[in-house]
Symmetry: C3
Subunit: 142 residues, 3 copies
């Protein structure tokens, strides 16, 4: 059983900036040598999340609008009233989406649909440098 | 440490067709021989998701309505404007629900509540044949 | 490869009672001795969920309001019409939020942001005694 970990980094823009991580995750799996197992893609931080979507500009814009409805920017947030950092909506969005996804690895590749990409969603209200932990667990024998 | 994987298949109907996978997942765990570990239930594809619910027709209908509100069919979707396949809402729903769940295995059984079943939700706008990867990782000794 | 499991217990109040589990999860990881691996925090039961948020009263109240909009208490639920237990909204909320989170463990500690706490959300309409399974998988060598 092997555990292999790498940390990706992304510069993000404010307000639901969505990045495709799939190619980088695939490269980590390859470097790990793991043939059967799982990959965990996790973002530390309370104002970003990780999920999957078909990464094309239409679906990405649609997702952004749906997330905006979940926790609109125009509402009153107790977090902002208390701390004044103006990103109450970002915290709620991140809590609802979740910080990670896990995908099975079969024959050295993540099992994903053709149109199913792994994405980072940064919900914060200012530019950030995000870390994303990619951890591969499994066996190197086929 | 053992890794055991099987792929389930389900024929689904359009528009949030919800299937109970619990019995099949339990059978995979039994065949794996794993006594302590985890089971990952993952659906490849960008228009379906996996979660848990009490699988009875009332709660299932209630969930379907809530998901419909998250990404209503009557809205305009950029994905549809661009690609014309009419399933923009399906992509958004799948991204919000997520493609998988992971449950602990204790003494050879998935730890689930009595009324907590593992479900596949197919959000696409046409019938599909879905694959669901069930992967068990753990140890065979008690 | 080690698998270590402990079950936490929490007394919860009705209607989206939110508890910070982070310190207890950290203690389980420490007792496991695992240095590199993953921790799975899973709640059995169909009316509760697990996610992450900055655990301060403002953000917690904001999340509670957003969840209330996802499945409002004032709506008609088929689950209630059929079973009469009045917690149809609780089932929908739990299905949308999901029952677990998984975080990587690096150098004996869960990789979490400074303001990213692991929380239990109990959605039921009556007080409950909740169990939360904390399972650590990984290696004890650094």
């Amino acid at each position: 059983m092997q555990i292999h970990r790498e940390t990706l980094e992304r510069e993000t823009a404010p307000d639901t900036d969505i990045h495709d991580l799939t190619d980088e995750v695939r490269a980590v799996i390859e470097r790990s040598g793991v043939k059967q197992g799982q990959v965990l893609v996790f973002t530390p931080g309370s104002t970003a999340g990780v999920t999957v979507i078909e990464y094309e500009s239409g679906a990405v814009a649609d997702l952004r609008r749906a997330i905006d409805r979940l926790a609109p920017t125009g509402e009153r947030y107790d977090h902002d009233a208390r701390w004044g950092d103006g990103n109450g909506y970002s915290h709620v969005r991140a809590a609802l989406l979740g910080p990670s996804i896990t995908a099975p690895i079969v024959d050295g590749r993540a099992v994903l649909g053709t149109w199913q990409q792994i994405i980072l969603c940064d919900f914060d209200n200012r530019p950030r440098t995000r870390k994303i932990v990619v951890q591969v667990m499994g066996v190197v024998v086929p």
